[in-house]
Amino acid sequence: MKISDLAKLNELKENAAKKILPDKPYIAIGMGTCGIGRGAELLFDNFERTIKERNLDIILKKTGCFGFCSEEPLVNLYIPGHPLIIMHQVSENDVIPIITGVLKGIMPYRNVLCRIEEWDFITGKFDFGKGLTDYPLWNEVPFFKWQKKIVLRNCGLIVPDDIEEYVAVGGYFPLFSALNNMTPQSVIDEVKASKLRGRGGAGFPTGVKWELMAKVQADQKYIICNADEGDPGAFMNRNEIESDPFMLIEGMTIGAYAMGASKGVVYIRAEYPLAVRRLKSAILQAKEYGFLGENILNSGFNFDIDIVEGAGAFVCGEETALIHSIEGKSGRPTPRPPYPAERGLYGKPTNINNVETWCNIPVVISKGGSWFTETGTEKSAGTKVFSLVGKVKNTGLIELPLGSTLETIVFKIGEGTGSQKRVKAVQTGGPSGGCIPVEYLSTPVDYESLNSLGSIMGSGGMVVMDQDNCMVDVARYFTEFSNGESCGKCTPCREGLAQTLKIINKFTQGKATVADIHTLEELGKVIKATALCGLGQTAPNPVLTTLRYFRDEYDHHMIEKKCEPGICQDLFSALCENSCPLHMNIPRYLQLLKEDKLEDAFESTLRDNPLPSSIGRICHFHCQMKCRRESIDASVSQGDIHRYISDTIYKEGKAPAVYEKIKKGRLPQTHKRIAIIGAGPAGLTAAYYLVRLGHDVTIFESESEAGGILRWGIPKYRLPLETLDFEIQFIKELGVHFVFNTTIGRDIAFADLERDYNIVIVGIGAQSDIALSVAGNKLDGVLSGMDFLKDVAKGKQLNIGRHVVVIGAGNVAIDAARTAQRFGSEVTVVYRRLKSDMPANKDEIKGAEMEGVNFLFLCNPKEILADTSDKVRGIELMKMASGDIDLSNRRKPVPTGESFILACDTVITAVGEEVEAGFLKEFGIKTNSNGNISCDHFSFSTSHPKVYAIGDAVTGPATAAEAMGIAKKAAEVIDFNLMNKRRFHKLFRGFEYSDEVPLKPEGGNRHYTFKRPLEERIGNFKEINLGYSKEQAYAEASRCLRCDVRVIVNTEEE
C-alpha cells in the first residue's frame, strides 16, 4: 500500500494506533541483542508456545530494548485499562504466572520494574491507563529518573520491524511535512536552528554540514549513515537501529531531501547481524509504503538506501576511510581537504552523519529547532545517548540532556559500583577518549567540557572503573586497541602507538624509568598533533589522561614495581600477597603449613612481618578482600592461619630456635645510628628491619612501654598483652634500644637527635581524636575514643555512667563501645549513614551487636545537652535520610529536620583521628594541610634532609598493617640511602615447598575460629577469638588455590 497523501497517512496511523493500544492484553519481549543475550529468545518461545497451546487471546510482540540492559530480559505487559507494566529479569519460570495473571486481569506482583501511564513519543502521545500505584512510575526509578528520551523515544515500546507501529506513534509525519510544506533550505534552516551537533563524536554542527553539501552542484550526491560503531563498550547505534530502524531511515530521507541526494548508504558493522536484518526489513517496508524509493509520498522526490556491511575496522569510522571502504578499497583515510562534501563517495559530493544524528532529525522537523534547543546547553543542544558499562550497578543505554554531569550518570543513574568498591574514574569516548577521575565527575557532559579534561564525547561509550582497575593497565588496554586498529598509514599513529604500547608494557612489567614517562608524554603530544586522522589524533588520550590524573599509579609501577589493584601480573606473585601492606608471601606459609613445616612457615611469616601473632589477630585482612577463592565459596582466612602458626610456635617453645636463625643473619655492624620516634607498629617494624641490617637503632617513646596503638588503642579482648609483649621482646633481643617516657622536644631536644644520629625516623602515629563540632562537645562526660581506650588500657578508674553514646563507625568507635559495654554500661553507637557504610571491621560490628551494643543509623549529633552542673545529660540527634549516592559511592546522609533526644551519661566521640605533628614544624619538618607529615611517597624523606617519616604520621589514620608496610618499605629505602647498596633482600631467604596447583578446590568450606561464648565475655577483657585448632588450620591452609604459581602455556604464534 503506497501512501500518497495525508489522508492515507492519517488513516494508516489511526488503524495502527490499535496496535499500540489494543483492546486485548499484549506481552512484548525486549529482543535487542542485550535481551536475547540474557535469554529473551527462549522466553519468547515459551510465551508463544503457552499462548498457542492454550489458544489464548493474548498478543505477543517482539520489541527492542528499553535501555536497562542489566535488568534484561525486560517484558512489557499491557492489559487494557491499566498502565503499561515493564517487568525485569523475567525468566521462563515466570511465563505461567504472568499468563495466568493476565487471564485473570491481575498484574504480576514480582519482577515489576515500573509502570508507564502515558508515554510521549514526541511525535505522538499515548495514554495507557492509570492505577497500579504500588509500582513506581518509570521515571521514579533511579535509572530512568534523570533521563530524557528523544532518540530512544520509541525504543523498547514499539515493534521495531513493523512500519505501522512506527507510523502509529507519529512516524513519517515529519517526512510528509518536510516534503510538502518545506523547501530543502527550510529543512536545513530548521536543523541549524536546532543546534544539533554531530553525535559521532566530533560535534560538528549538523545544519552547517548539510548546507555545505546542499550548495555543491552535482549530478549525483550521496548521503551516508555511519553505523560503524567500533568502540569497546559502546552499543548505542546498534540498539538504536535494532529498536527503531525507521527513525534512522526517516531521518536520512529528510536529510537527502534537504541536501539533494538521491542515494543513501548505511555503513554498518557486519558484527551487528540483528541490526542489519531489521534495517533491511525496514527498508523493504518503507519502500512498500512509499516512504522510500521512487516518488516518495507522491512528492516526486526519489531516494533509496543501500546497506554496506563493514568488516569491522575501527578506522572506518573516519569519514574518508569509510568512503574508501564503501568503494571497495582498503579503509585508509586521506587528508582533508577535499572534504566529502566536495569530493566523497565515488568522487561525488557526500554527507556523512552518525546514526544518532540522523535519528534526531524527525523530531527536529516535527517539533522545530527551537523546541530542540530547550534541552541541553547553549552550545550543546539536545540529548546524548550513552552506553553505561563497567563497574557500575545499573548498566545499559541511557539518554540524557547534554550538560548533565558525569556524577548524574555514574551515581544517580548508575547508582555507583553497587559494591563496597570505590569508583575511581570514568572513561568516556572509548579508546579515543580519556579517563576522568572521580574528583572531576561534577563536570557537565558536553563537547567542550570533556575536551578541556583531555577526553572527548566520542560516540557515547562510558566505562566506569573502580579501585580494582589499574589505570596503567587501562591505558595499556586502549593503546593496544588503537594500535591494533591503526590503519598503518601515517608515521605517528602506526609507529607512535606501537612505541607507546611498548613503553606502557615496561610499566606493567616494572621495567620503566622516569625517562619513559617523559617519552610517553612527548609521544602522546606528537601523535595528537600530527596523526592524519581522528583515530590517531585521539588515540593518545587514554595515556595522556591517565598520566595527568593517575600519575601516582605510574609511579607505583615504576618506582615500587607494584600494581596496587593487582592487575599487572608481572608485578606480584599472588593477589593476597599484592594486597598485603607487608607483602607477606601468603601462599608460601600456607603451603609450608600444609606440608607440616611449621618452623619454616613461622620463619616465613616472621621475616615478612615482625608481629605475626599480634597482627594475625587484629589485621584488617586486606588479603582476604582479594582472595580468588572467594569466587568459589569464601576467601581463605590467611590471617587466622598466621596467627595459628605463631601461636603454636610460641606455645610449643619453638620460637627461640627460629629467633636464633634470624639473629645470626644480622648483617655486620654498620655503625650508622638511627633514632626512631615512636614505638608503635610502624616504629617497631622499621627498627626490626634496620637493626637486622646492622644499624644501631634507638626508639624514643613517650609512654612507658612499646606497642603504641596496639597496646593503648586495641582492647585486650582483641589482642592480649602477653602476645604483644612476647613479640616486642624479640625486637628488643635483636638489639634495638628503647628509651621510654621520653618526649622529643620536652625531655630531649630535637637538635640532639639531629646531632647524634645519622637518620631520624618519625613514627608518631595519628592519635589525636578529631573533636565533634557540635555544641556541648567540651562538657564533662564527653570523651574522646582514643583517650578512653588508653585510659582503660592503663587501668585508670573511669566513671562513664549507665548510658554511653558512641559517635562514629570506625574501629575506634566499635572498640570504645565494646569496652564501655564491658564496664556494664548500656551503649549506643550513633552513625549518620547506613550500617553497610561503616568502615569498621565487619567481625567487630557483628561482635558488638552480639554483645548487646545498640546501633542508631542515619542519626547525626546536633547538640550534646548538659544538666545543671554542666555534665552530659543527653544528646540531641538529627534524623537523617539516605540521599543520592555521592562520590564516595555511599548514599549521602541528608538531614530530615526531625530530631530527638537520647539521654546518656557519657558521649564518646570517635569520628576520626589526626596527626599531632605541629611540634615538628620548628625543626624544619613540613606538614600537609591535613596535619600529616609531608613526605615523599616512595623515599619517605621529609623536608628535613635527615628525617624520614613512616606510618599513620604520613598517611593519616590507617591500619596497623598499613603503617608497618610503610615502615618496611622505608627501612629498605633508608638502608639503601645509608649504604648506597641494595642489601634489604639479604634479610629474606627462600623456602622449599611444592608448586603444585590443586586441580580442584580443596579444604572444604571456610573454617571459622572458635569464639569465647557470650556469657564468658561479660565484664571482662578475655580474648574472644580463640583461634584455630590444628585440623582447622591445616584444612584452611589447603583451601588456597595457589594463584602464585604461574604456569607458562605455550601458545602457537598466529
Binding site: 590503519c487 598503518g488 601515517c490 607512535g496 602507538l497 611498548k502 600530527t530
Partner: protein
C-alpha cells in the same frame, strides 16, 4: 585567476604569493625549506610521514604543508618548539624500525632518510624496534625489495599506480603490520610488474633497488679467458656524469668510453649502433605493414617494461608490436654472431654487458627466447641444450656502473675523451635520440621518409614529437601517403593509446611507446634523483649530441651498411628474422 596573489604570513613576516600552491611549495619560493620526506613532487602526496608539518593559526592540529594549500590570510609558522619536536619525534619513530647500517647500504650518501636525519640533527633516539624483520623479495630479475628499509612513504605505490597504472604493489596489512606488498605477497617476480624500476627511482631509501650484478661483471672482467664487451645505451651518456657527481644532464660520452676501458672492458661499444639497426628493421617493417595491409598501428618494441605491460594487460594487442628486438638485444645477437665470426672468437667466451638506464632490461636479457646467437651457433659448434647462453649476459644500470667506477678509483670528471671501438661503436644522431621520448619516432621518420620517398628530408628535426607532453601526435606526409603517428611515454599514457586500439578507434599507423617518464633518459636505472627539471637537462644534452653527430640518419651509418653487406644481407631478411626479431607471450594479470 592563474596569477592571483594572496597575502600570507610566514614566521611573522608578511608575503604576497601566488595562489594555488601548497604551503611547502609556497615557502620554498620565499626561501624557506620545510623538511619533508614522503612527499615527492609530481609523484606522491600520500601525506603519511608527518615530517613537513607546520602550524597554521586556527588549525586544531599541525598541518601537513605538502598537501595543504596556502590560502588568503593564512598565518603559518614553519618552526617552533612544538613543530621541531613533532618532526624529530616522527623521524625518530621512522628510524626506530629502520636498520642503522647506513655504512653498508647502497644508498649511503644518496639517501633521503639519512639526509633528513642529518638535517634535523638527530643523534639518539629513545625508540627501539617494534616489528620483526621481513624477508627480502628477490623474486624479480630486475628489482630487489628490502622491506626492512621501507619507511612506508608510499612513493613507489604512487608511481606504480598513478604514473604507470600497473598497480603491482600496494599497502597490505594494517597498523604495524602495514607493508608494501604484491598480490598475495607473491613477490615482484611473480606478479604483473613491468620491472620499469620507477619505484626504485623514487624510493627515498634502499627499500627497493635494482638487482645488483656488478660483482658478476667484475668477475668476468678479471677473468682472462673472457672477452668482455660492453654496450652503452644512449641515455647513459647523459646520466652517468650525474651519478659520478657532475652537473645534472652532463653530456659525458667520451669520458664514459675511456672510463669503461679503464674499468677493464675489452671493447667499448654503443647500443646506438643497434639503435640504427633497429631503425632499419623497424622502418622496413612499418613500410611493409603499410604496403601489405599489415596490423596497424605498429608499436615500437624497444622498451622492455612496455613489452611486459602489454603482455600482461593487453595480450590481445600483441600483434601491434613491432617484431623487432630492442637495440640492446640486437646488439647481443650481432655481437655473438657477426662480431664473433668477424674476429673469430668463440661466442661462448664473449661476455656482453649492457649499461642501461633501465631495470627492465635485466629481465629482458633473461627472456628465454633471447638466445639467438646460441641457436645460430648450435649446429655449427655442435652445442647441447645445456650449453645455452644468452645474447646479453649482464645488464647494469647507470647506478651500478657508477658504483663500479667509484670502486675502481676512476676519477670520472677528469677522464680523457675517447671514442667507441669499431665497428659496433659507430652510430648516428638517430641512434642518440632513442634516449628521449619521441626519439625512436623521429629516427624512424628520418629513415622511412627517405626510403619511401627516395628524397632527402628537408628538416630532419621533428620538433612535434619532442618534449614531455604525455601523448604527442603528428601527421606525416610520406610523399602523398599521409600517416598519423603518436608518441607516448609512461604506461599510463600507453594505456590510453592501447584502449583506443582495442576499441578500434586508433587513427595511427605508428606509435612509439616508452615506459619511463621522459623516455630512457628518465629510466628506472638512472641516477637518483630524477626530476622533470633533470629530465629536461638530459634531453637537452641528447639533442645536443644528435646535433653534433656528423651522420644523423640510421640508414647512412656506414657500419650498418657494412653489417648488411657482410652479414645480414637486407632488412627483414632471413638472418634478420633469426637474430633481430622476436615474438611475445601472453601473460595474465595474476
Amino acid at each position: 585567476m592563474e596569477n592571483k596573489k594572496i597575502n600570507i604570513t610566514v614566521d611573522g613576516k608578511a608575503y604576497q604569493v601566488k595562489e594555488g600552491n601548497t604551503i611547502l611549495e609556497t615557502c620554498k619560493k620565499i626561501g624557506i625549506n620545510i623538511p619533508s620526506l614522503c612527499y615527492l613532487k609530481d609523484v606522491s602526496t600520500n601525506a603519511s610521514c608527518a615530517i613537513c608539518v607546520v602550524e597554521v593559526k586556527g588549525a586544531r592540529t599541525l598541518v601537513r604543508s605538502c598537501v595543504s594549500k596556502a590560502t588568503e590570510g593564512m598565518e603559518i609558522r614553519t618552526h617552533s618548539p612544538e613543530i621541531n619536536q613533532a618532526r624529530m619525534t616522527n623521524l625518530e619513530l621512522i628510524l626506530a624500525n629502520h636498520p642503522k647500517d647506513c655504512l653498508i647500504c647502497e644508498r649511503n650518501g644518496n639517501c633521503e632518510l639519512q639526509e633528513l636525519t642529518a638535517t634535523l640533527g638527530i643523534k639518539e633516539t629513545p625508540y627501539g624496534k617494534t616489528k620483526p624483520v621481513e624477508k627480502n623479495d628477490t623474486t624479480s630479475l630486475s628489482l630487489t625489495r628490502i622491506p626492512e628499509k621501507c619507511i612506508l612513504c608510499g612513493r613507489c605505490i604512487a608511481v606504480c599506480a598513478d604514473v604507470q597504472t600497473v598497480y603491482a604493489i600496494d599497502f597490505a596489512g594494517r597498523g604495524l603490520k602495514t607493508k608494501v606488498s604484491t598480490y598475495r605477497d607473491k613477490g615482484l617476480g611473480n606478479v604483473a610488474c613491468t620491472n620499469c624500476g620507477q619505484c626504485a627511482l623514487v624510493c627515498p631509501t634502499a627499500a627497493i633497488v635494482e638487482r645488483d650484478e656488478s660483482k658478476e661483471v667484475f668477475a668476468d672482467i678479471y677473468n682472462p679467458d673472457k672477452v668482455v664487451i660492453v654496450q652503452t645505451a644512449p641515455a647513459i651518456r647523459v646520466g652517468i656524469g650525474e651519478a659520478m657527481g657532475m652537473e645534472q644532464g652532463a653530456l659525458v660520452t667520451g669520458k664514459m668510453v675511456s672510463a669503461l676501458r679503464k674499468l677493464g672492458f675489452d671493447k667499448v661499444f654503443d647500443t646506438q649502433f643497434t639503435a640504427d639497426l633497429t631503425i632499419m628493421e623497424e622502418g622496413f617493417e612499418l613500410i611493409s605493414r603499410i604496403k601489405n595491409n599489415g596490423t596497424l598501428p605498429m608499436i615500437t618494441s624497444c622498451s622492455p617494461g612496455w613489452i611486459k605491460f602489454i603482455e600482461h594487460f593487453f595480450p590481445k594487442s600483441l600483434s601491434h608490436l613491432s617484431t623487432c628486438k630492442s637495440p640492446q638485444q640486437m646488439f647481443g645477437a650481432v655481437a655473438k654472431t657477426y662480431y664473433a665470426e668477424k674476429l673469430n672468437i668463440d661466442p661462448r667466451k664473449i661476455v656482453v654487458v649492457s649499461i642501461m638506464p633501465c631495470t627492465a632490461k635485466k629481465f629482458e636479457c633473461k627472456r628465454p627466447e633471447m638466445n639467438s646467437a646460441f641457436d645460430y651457433w648450435k649446429e655449427k659448434l655442435n652445442l647441447a641444450d645445456k650449453d645455452n647462453f644468452f645474447d646479453v649476459d649482464y645488464v647494469l644500470t647507470t647506478r651500478e656502473l657508477a658504483r663500479m667506477f667509484k670502486q675502481t678509483g676512476i676519477d670520472f670528471r677528469h677522464m680523457p675523451e675517447e671514442d667507441f671501438d669499431h665497428p659496433l661503436g659507430i652510430s648516428t644522431g638517430a641512434g642518440v635520440i632513442f634516449a628521449a621520448t619521441g626519439g625512436v619516432m623521429e629516427a624512424a621518420v628520418r629513415t622511412a621518409y627517405e626510403v619511401i620517398t627516395g628524397k632527402p628530408m628537408e628538416n630532419i628535426e621533428l620538433n612535434v614529437v619532442r618534449g614531455f607532453e604525455g601523448i604527442k601526435e603528428a601527421e606525416l606526409d610520406l610523399d602523398g601517403t599521409k600517416i598519423k603517428v603518436a608518441v607516448a611515454h609512461t604506461l599510463k599514457n600507453a594505456r590510453v593509446l592501447l584502449e583506443q586500439i582495442e576499441e578500434g578507434k586508433s587513427p595511427y599507423a605508428f606509435i612509439e611507446v616508452m615506459t619511463c617518464p621522459g623516455g630512457c633518459l628518465g629510466g628506472g636505472g638512472q641516477a637518483i634523483p630524477t626530476t622533470w627539471e633533470i629530465r629536461q637537462k638530459r634531453a637537452d644534452s641528447i639533442y645536443k649530441e644528435d646535433n653534433l653527430k656528423a651522420i644523423r640518419k640510421s640508414h647512412e651509418n656506414p657500419a650498418i651498411k657494412a653489417l648488411y653487406d657482410e652479414f645480414l644481407v637486407e632488412p627483414l631478411g632471413h638472418k634478420s628474422h633469426e637474430l633481430l626479431h622476436t615474438n611475445y607471450v601472453e601473460r595474465g594479470i595474476y
